[in-house]
């Protein structure tokens, strides 16, 4: 256990130091995730017509919550892993007695901590410009949100890492992620809250993993009615499926890996 703790602590500390080397980039990365803020403006205008179940303030809070969820769950492992496979950089990592994925996990978690001050700054700036939208979630919702965001990140990472393993065969696995992202964009609640979807589309979407990666945690934070047990169940089922697929692809992929260019 001590050994595990030392490994985790060291990886996180070194990766955190690495992330802090990119101070300016961190702000730019945080800003690059501001699509929800842009969509917020669109939806506030649209809601002024009053044809939706949510009012302008609800939209403002929802998209701000989406912004926070996206900031805390952003994943880029597929691009790094693809490069490691194609350029043979995976080889030295495979020769260490630790699964290479843990370096990526540590990198992502450390980046989150490094990014945190910028998220707080941007949210603070938003409330300064739009004070009517300010709200404090109930403490129970906040607590559930914190636990949930960890699960959301884990599921998002697992899914993307599983797609990344296809790099053993296609060498351009990121193209598959682009396709996956299209579904994520429309079905996750990133472009519009699920409340404004037609009922049939909403029901179908709720059986996919996408809404649970954005709408589910954002809904809890702003107090929208969400089915928590169902959400956790669907996440667990998709998580289990992708975990099994991930381990299978990893074993097959290692046999496929030729280490070319290493």
């Amino acid at each position: 256990m001590d050994d595990l703790w030392i490994k985790a602590r060291t990886l996180l500390a070194v990766q955190y130091a690495y992330m802090l080397e990119y101070r300016a980039e961190l702000l730019l990365w945080a800003l690059s995730g501001s699509l929800p803020i842009i969509l917020m403006g669109v939806w506030i205008q649209a809601a002024a017509g009053g044809r939706f179940g949510l009012g302008p303030l609800d939209f403002a809070r929802y998209f701000l919550a989406v912004f926070v969820v996206r900031q805390l769950s952003v994943v880029w492992v597929i691009w790094e892993f693809e490069r490691e496979v194609v350029e043979g950089k995976l080889s030295p990592l495979l020769l260490q007695p630790i699964d290479p994925v843990w370096r990526h996990v540590a990198g992502h978690i450390s980046e989150r901590f490094a990014r945190m001050p910028f998220i707080v700054l941007l949210v603070g700036l938003f409330f300064l410009l739009y004070p009517q939208a300010f709200w404090l979630p109930r403490w129970t919702d906040a607590l559930v949100f914190v636990g949930l965001i960890v699960l959301v990140f884990a599921l998002r990472f697992l899914i993307q890492y599983t797609l990344a393993l296809l790099a053993f065969w296609t060498e351009r696995a990121s193209a598959i992620e682009e396709l996956w992202f299209l579904c994520y964009l429309f079905l996750s609640g990133l472009i519009a809250p699920l409340e404004v979807f037609p009922p049939l589309v909403r029901e179908v979407a709720l059986w996919t993993p996408f809404p649970y990666l954005v709408h589910f945690p954002a809904g809890i934070l702003v107090g929208l009615p969400v089915d928590v047990p169902r959400g956790l169940l669907v996440m667990a089922v998709w998580g289990g499926l992708f975990f099994v697929l991930n381990r299978w692809l990893w074993r097959r992929g290692l046999k496929q890996y030729s280490g070319m260019g290493a």
């Binding site: 490994k7 990886l11 070194v14 030295p92 020769l95 290493a262």
Partner: protein, 328 residues
Amino acid sequence: MLPIIRVQNLSKVYPVADKEPGLVGTLNHFFRRRYKLIEAVQQVSFAIEPGAVVGFLGANGAGKTTTLKMLTGLIYPSEGTVEVAGFMPFRRERDFLSKITLVMGQKQQLIWDLPAFDSLRVNAAVYGLSDAEATRRVGELAEMLALSDKLHQPVRKLSLGERMKAELLAALLHQPQVLFLDEPTLGLDVNAQTAVRTFLKEYNERYNATVLLTSHYMADITALCERVLLIHRGQLIYDGSLDGLLDRFAPYREVRAEFGRAYNREELAAYGEVEMLAKCEARFLVERDALVHTVSRLLAELQVVDLEVSDPPVEEVIGKVFLTGAVA
């Protein structure tokens, strides 16, 4: 003594995409991809005793790196068996990975933007070294590599030689028993090459580590290896001492002569293959069997001021073997 590396009939066949040049070739390649099989390594067998330093020679694409990758477990053999330190490498068991290391001169594992010390901390944690043990080993290796004052500088600020030394330090922190070194001195200047060689020799002697080394710099091989393996087009064509290699593949000697007057190339061609001719100096390659007769003729027939006979440089011998395919 039982071998620490045992390789039996090792082969590796790769499928490689085969594309015709031009637009038609590109479109054909897009719609119907064809592959051809490349036999990178064919029926290679050898064994290495613990503590030995063995040179692994071959031209580019001869199969050296592919063999090293199979020995480290990075790729699966198509055929044959490999055993390293009692393990089957491709199973990549934790105990096996703790006993080996692979250093690739053209690839780095250190984190570019951080001091090397941070990468060493990660390696120490990954291999389960305590803080005290890691500090002791870093100190010891850094001293052997004359690198102690460079470990806290960002890796990107180090010179190529210092970076290679830091790579070696990171790769050896867990004190592996078997070192696979693929071009460890690639691109380094003469001083840095010498420093790396000296370190490897000292490491081998101090820890009785087994070293399998590939290098295009023959000085690495002559300084470190008593035994060499020569691989050509995937096949092992020589396994023995370096001197034996020269006897087998270089049945000629180099004769340097200084003359009292200038001769042209045609006049000298009768005495051997003229490698160099500059004013009154010439260098020949002369068949070993004809050496005494040729030298006698040179002295009798030409105005020789000075004459020297020596073995040709090892790199020339190896180069000729690769170029002409003069193999067994």
